[in-house]
Amino acid sequence: MGDIITVDKLTKRYSTYKRGSGFKESLKALFVREKVPVIAVNDVSFNVKEGDIVGILGPNGAGKSTTIKMLTGTLYPTSGSIEVMGYNPTKNRKTYVHQIGAVFGQKSQLIWDIPPVDSFRMNKAIYGISDKDFDERLQLMSKIFMVEDFITRPTRVLSLGERMKCEFIMAMLHHPKVVFLDEPTIGLDVIAKHDIVF
């Protein structure tokens, strides 16, 4: 099988401000702030073949999430190139993101005040999923993740694990060709973790 993802010399730099702690430093920071360059991702290159499941491991702050954000097209790289399914994620964003799914474990796509099933319907309209496909996929994934009992309850009353299961379903409803998962198993029990991977 050919490469579905090609990343070449990917680099992301940005600037932030350094500030000490305490009142004196806070006061000083009102007038003078030291600009600090940060290299979030430095010259990363890799390939992923079609059908592969690949994990990125590294210590905190290594740039794993930033790399995934650049792969999803939500952040622009400073230099280097990315090609996913022949697309440059930063160009033709709408066409590209239609083909991918993404779960960011620390952030939510679900709408807080309404049940997850209504958020799913919102994505159905956004992705233009047919009624038949939507019903079939929702039924299948509801069964796999055992979410039938709680997808009609408001999101705000769900546990972290229940919400993560719904986040995963939300990212998969449009049947994406490539899925990017950033800490997707936060709060999940071992059975659900197993179901996501297999």
Binding site: T72, T74, L75, R93, K107, D113, M122, A125, I126
Partner: protein, 260 residues
């Protein structure tokens, strides 16, 4: 277009579901918005009642301007003002990714998702004052109504332009809670007859930030006070909206996110 209509319909359903979840909050917000904005025309009545006023303008003519402003604000609050609040919040918390991964225009989806029913009370309040004001000025002809409608819609475009520029600023000026106040201050120049301002202010409010189109020009149309210059001012209004859209899209591209 059909897809966008479908998404918008779904967003309205969600807004209704959210409003019905917090019923008391919804009723309170409607009432507070109504009281907060409706007090302004009432002050005008008090000013005129004490013998003062804007030279060359009757109380009903000024009320007409202010009621149009209130209706415009209500429509904007319901349909697109949310983009400013949600952008500020998302940039600060680094949640913009959740919108950027959707295959739809970021600006459109944020406007649709922040559709709010809470402006209904404000709109009805403004509409009531509008009817009272219109009944107390000479009844406009159909042509004048058409001119009014044209200016009114373009005025809403100006409001959209201001909201987008303010939202775009929040990408650089992260977490600044004063942005909505700047927004409100700029808009408030549209609440008064332009003839009370110095020429420099009239130039700014007609061409640079054309807030005069929000309520003064539509009211002038209904009162038969339009001149050819007002029609020319349509152009800067469109340019202002285009600039707002361009700036917002440009700033979205510069979005840096927060730590992972």
């Amino acid at each position: 277009m059909k897809k966008h209509m479908k998404i918008y319909k779904e967003c309205i359903k969600v807004a209704f579901a959210a409003a019905s979840t917090y019923r008391l909050n919804f009723i309170l917000n409607c009432t507070i918005m109504l009281l907060g904005d409706i007090i302004f025309p009432l002050i005008t009545v008090l000013i005129y009642g004490s013998g003062a006023g804007f030279q060359g303008w009757t109380v009903y003519e000024v009320l007409l301007i202010q009621s149009i402003f209130t209706m415009s604000t209500a429509i904007a609050d319901m349909t697109f003002h949310g983009v400013m609040w949600v952008t500020m919040d998302m940039v600060r918390n680094g949640n913009m990714e959740m919108v950027l991964i959707l295959p739809v225009d970021t600006m459109f989806i944020l406007m649709a998702r922040t559709f709010s029913f809470e402006g209904i009370g404000l709109f009805l309040g403004g509409f009531t004052i509008f009817i009272v004001a219109v009944l107390n000025v000479s009844i406009p002809s159909i042509i004048l109504w058409l001119q009014f409608l044209t200016f009114f819609i373009i005025g809403i475009f100006v409001m959209m332009g201001i909201a987008l520029i303010m939202a775009a600023i929040s990408f650089k000026w992260v977490g600044n809670s004063r942005i909505p106040e700047i927004f409100s201050s700029i808009r408030s120049f549209g609440k008064y007859p332009q003839s009370i301002f110095p020429k420099a202010i009239v130039f700014i409010t007609s061409i640079i930030i054309p807030v005069a189109m929000i309520s003064y020009y539509p009211a002038a149309a209904l009162l038969g006070r339009v001149n050819s210059g007002m029609f020319i001012m349509i152009l800067p209004c469109f340019l202002f909206l285009i600039f707002g859209i361009y700036l917002y899209r440009h700033m979205v591209r510069l979005y840096q996110g927060v730590g992972g």
